[in-house]
Symmetry: D2
Subunit: 418 residues, 4 copies
């Protein structure tokens, strides 16, 4: 329904043509420094009207914290967040009174709810994502302070204009070293320097032109977003149904207009034999000098058996071209009569630049929830008396990031017979 997460649980409300949108965050840890200023930047990155590549609707999207904080810190109680709706212009959509928009949610919402709201596919609107982005910003802040975790999403392709790594991988099946290196270093500042949110300046220019072409043709175009999560705590993800990649896929495919998800080597990796695809273990040295086991390559994308291994998590999401275009489209009316629909209104010719903060938000919500589940297990197990010597080879719980607190490899996992 409209709730995501078990411990860090977000419930959203609102559609395009009501008084406001927002969410309730339940389960946020107490004591986190939090004001509207921590949330607004991601909302501003998400909102329309940022450049000539996005819809000119100038939604202000100012967030208000209604509850759950005091003196600039979270209380542990539910955080109510609202953003008022402005600049709605409901009459822009009147043509859709006759025709369900092709590939939009107008018809399926009618099938589902038995009635037709002003905004057609009501909650399918991109405006619904405001609550997610607000909640994600809170999760991101916690994870940054607790573990130094970073969420970086960027545009990796628009139509057929793609960053080179995509082509390379479709040939070799696995990500290139340059790509993997880029994932470790790319910054949000580099990404925001480009209107397309593609950090490759040359490719970004071509993408910009591709979007402008679509706009001028009253058309639209799809693209892909790539996201990396750095400094991920280990041990996240719940066997068997809530594997970490399963939750990430769920989260990403819940974003409007998404059609595809791949993690690590993804579809390309299916072509590569095991002896080339397996990520060998190597001992690495963390920022504080501690030793830990990492992987030589990272074709797994930081997750093995559904559980994070501490390496970067990275994945790519496919967004289709927006359904609402101003071109004339031959289609059929609600009543079954063939005709031509030409939608007016202001629409994004391409959603991927604005989708990047939504991807980051959903990723942060997944990681945050997984962290709290693992902390519960960790906390409970640590209360038990030490296990006797058995082949289970008891290890103290390990929940850390490569550059963070020491992973006690030696004591915990010493093999019996080595």
């Amino acid at each position: 329904m409209s709730t995501f997460g078990t411990h860090f649980r977000v419930t959203t409300f609102g559609e395009s043509h009501c008084k406001g949108v927002g969410c309730i965050i339940d389960g946020c840890p107490p004591g986190l420094a939090l004001t509207e200023d921590d949330i607004q930047p991601q909302l501003t990155r998400r909102r329309p009207g940022q450049s000539n590549l996005t819809t000119p609707r100038d939604e202000k999207d100012r967030v208000t914290i209604l509850s759950g904080t005091e003196f600039g810190h979270t209380l542990g109680t539910p955080i109510g967040l609202t953003v008022p709706n402005q600049d709605q212009r409901p009459h822009d959509y009147t043509e859709t009174d006759l025709f369900p928009r092709p590939s939009h949610a107008d018809w399926t919402y009618l099938l589902k709810y038995g009635l037709k709201a002003s905004s057609g596919g009501g909650r399918a609107s991109a405006r619904e994502t405001i609550g997610r982005v607000a909640a994600g910003a809170v999760a991101e802040k916690f994870l940054k302070e607790a573990y130094g975790t970073e969420f970086i999403a960027f545009v990796s392709s628009v139509g057929k204009v793609a960053m080179p790594f995509i082509e390379e991988q479709s040939e070799t099946g696995v990500p290139s070293d340059e790509f993997v290196e880029m994932l470790s270093t790319v910054t949000r500042e580099q990404i925001d320097a480009e209107p397309t949110r593609c950090p490759d300046k040359e490719i970004s220019k071509m993408m910009t032109q591709r979007i402008i072409d679509a706009k001028e043709a009253n058309d639209s175009i799809g693209g892909t977003v790539t996201c990396v999560i750095r400094n991920v705590p280990t041990g996240l993800g719940e066997p068997c149904f809530d594997k970490l990649e399963a939750k990430l896929a769920h989260a990403m495919l819940s974003i409007p207009a998404t059609k595809a998800f791949e993690i690590g080597s993804g579809f390309g990796g299916t072509q590569v034999p095991g002896h080339l695809h397996n990520d060998a273990w190597v001992q690495k040295t963390g920022r504080k000098g501690q030793k830990f086991l990492g992987t030589k390559t990272n074709f797994s994308g930081g997750i093995q058996g559904g559980i994070s291994n501490g390496e970067n998590i990275y994945f790519r999401i496919g967004f289709k071209s927006p359904a609402t275009i101003s071109q004339e489209q031959q289609t059929t009316s609600y009543g079954g009569v063939e005709g031509v629909l030409a939608t007016r209104g202001r629409h994004d010719p391409c959603v991927v630049p604005r989708a990047t903060p939504i991807v980051e938000a959903m990723a942060a919500l997944v990681i945050m929830d997984a962290v709290m589940i693992q902390l519960a297990r960790h906390g409970a197990a640590s209360l038990l008396p030490p296990m006797p010597e058995t082949p289970l080879r008891p290890a103290p719980f390990i929940m850390s990031v490569p550059g963070g607190q020491a992973i006690k490899v030696d004591e915990t996992s010493k093999p019996k017979t080595e």
Copy 2:
């Protein structure tokens, strides 16, 4: 955790080296004809030892219904299902006492749980999927009886050997007419006629060779599975976080060894402009002569705005090459010492043939749960007095399949001003 679904809720247990595996199905509607014979066939399709392409372990995998049925019908109470473990040979895995297998769950399970079970990545074992397949068979039976819904999964690629539609789509961005037609007609019998479970006989031969090559090289290889769901009730999928494709992605990425998911036109569709990608509405005629709105093309994959529109749902899943191979691998031990691991034991060189019933099962669990949520909404709304005339244009609830009961297009959705 180990529970999937809200209304039709499956909880599984068991790993490779315990007494048994199984599940509890809670929320199955009462009055469904059900015996072990309805469940066993899918378990048999899943089990190892079916051909020389799969692991020679001959697990019998006989299921027993412990509760929840009487006189061959479900009671509505929880259905307990168990399958005993046989032929475990725990000593096959002793080398992994020293080395966590590369790209396997051995190390991440240790990170997560702080101890090391005999089976290494315990619940990451394919054996855990028995409970899913059993539960999926029950859901599938209900949906077949209630709506005629069909779930058909087949192998669409092994390594670089792929059915032609994959190549075609990577060029044009959208599925070809032939592929879409094939989705409507392919049968489970055609699929099971091939050891690879690829319905294209020529391609299947090449796939067989590819798998044998991997096996002989003590190596492994990945592949993709494509699944189509036919006769899907309309209106399934819950905005906003539980869009139907999001639940499907979650379900599929929870299957061991999966790395990628795409629905409808998928990644290819991101390259295609909106005016080509939009699925125009057309009036269609059902098997009983009723009129309904369908789509001319089906690049959406049967889901729009997260909600099923009654067209075929189809998606493709990427499975990596299995991590456990008998070749020597240079890696590092639990204790941080470099060395060489050569795993003994009997392992699938390629999991996709056996994965097809698992994919079908997970798809059935997703659809079943979505059906029950929509039935609750439908049932509740139908108890209300009729709405007055407003622009909401109230429509009686519509939940059917194209060939099934009439969709009342004319009365329900007549636009005001046409």
Copy 3:
């Protein structure tokens, strides 16, 4: 946490000293006529300042619907509701900076969250219940329209001043005929005619005096609320953990200051042997002339085996005396120093009159959620082909109220051998 219900799911936010309180209702059926005017009356019945028996804080408590409705009807999407906080006077509570109030949540909130908000036991405040009452009003409206279900709560005792049935039952162990009759006839109007919300005018006068005595002594007093639910659909309640009485008990004990719950004959009934306590079955005639099986007595309180049988559901809840009193209390400070606390501020000397709409709201939320679960099961089972003749003796689903649609006793449940 702050979410209640599975299908009709309410999430609340807000404490005393933040900008506002409210809730999100997710899963409300589409097409329900709903405006603020449907919600406000129960909020007004709940709010302080209604008589000299309640706290003089005059909270306006005007509710705003932010989303989920259009043209006065629900859309099926989440309904966001807010009520701004006014008249907060945070400085009233300063003494509690030094001393945790005895029997209040100040200290336990500090234990739980590790910090101390202005309002002490933040979400333990009665103000938190506004979101519940608003959501309950929506559930109540649906159930009234769908089934004619009625929720009536009244004050049955204040301190030792109790309606006669309580004394009678403590003697005989079972409810008297007069009491059972009263449950079927008492109206909300009769209840609201008394400032105490006790429908017995004589007892109400004594209760009023008891509350005024407490107020004048800077003291407080407890009491009990009795609630009856009439025209309850049959078949509600989920074995085994979510029996209907278990959900009702959960809901009622989640209301601040509650300490006890009994349903039907309750504690008194434990003293009565089975042959006197069992409710014999009798054939009854509904308002529309239909026959149905009901019970001669109703010591079960309308629920058997955790499932509603169509008779009135009734239960009683114990509320302790409010913890915050203006008398001096000998206690110990946060820092462990003994001292005297005399709380200022405006506090209810007795919560039970204002608690009645909260009880009704929570009862409505429980019944609403149970209705939707049963509708899902009902809808699913009704799609199956008819069962063959077996001792399971298949019966069409029966979900109705005694005076409502016919219960098909004859056809459905005819015994084999009678």
Copy 4:
């Protein structure tokens, strides 16, 4: 449905006339020493045939752990538990083919599921509680090892034969000092020494006679069970809907035949004014010499604002007289025909002696789940940087038991201005 808990999550299956009953425990912390021997004792305490006061059915009730442990320790993966059904004698119930038993679940199960299983009210059977008791034993073992928490339930009344504290409290409204003292000292051994499980030998004799009288009269009798939880971690219970007493009430009212629940001073306490009912704070000294804030009296029952304060939690549950009696009962058949039902079969004349381990089990499940939620919050908050000086007066998280690790009263909660 049939799942209880969020983190420590139990799902049960099985009814009287199927092959077996059991449960899956998901979320058990890894590393807990656990074999069947840890679970069997409580099952044995629950099973019938223990004395002449209970049903003579001699169910062996031997539990088998199917998964989730190895080398005698939990792995963190789901624990599957089964107990086979024996000695079912399905034909004992044939009379109930014609008549739904008064006050039993036969009729309501038919209303709910539309069919009639052999066991009538299937999952309403006491046999369903086996899975709960098994799961509760695991939770209890963890809590004993982690915190020294103890769960002690005993029979406090049978019919009108009651331990003196019940009468005393109905007079004074609050528990006596002797009763509170007894709660701190009573042992399971003392309780099991009596066939009634009432630790007061004199009262137990009278109870025994009362039960024998009922048995000889082919009748049945109800009673109450009182439970105390000692050494409870502080900070447990989730505002606002999942207050600890709400979860306990939910758990207890989900046990078959329960009708009433009261915690702390309960219904009696509603008669007592605030200045007498409030529990003053006092500084206490723990077993290790540490200082902590406790309460002078404990009328709150160890929970304030829905959160545990570290004092003993105690509550009382009312069980009605069993519905199935061998006397002739005038009633009405499924088909609406009046007649006389005389049930054969072996039935408990009084359930409370056997109910005590079920009460303990459900209490342990509630506490265990609450512990894990609080550990998640605790763990997350402890990762944050220290809060600056604000009136929130940040305190390190406190989760301990009075006799356990030190509660840091002085540093954490020192008021600024004292």
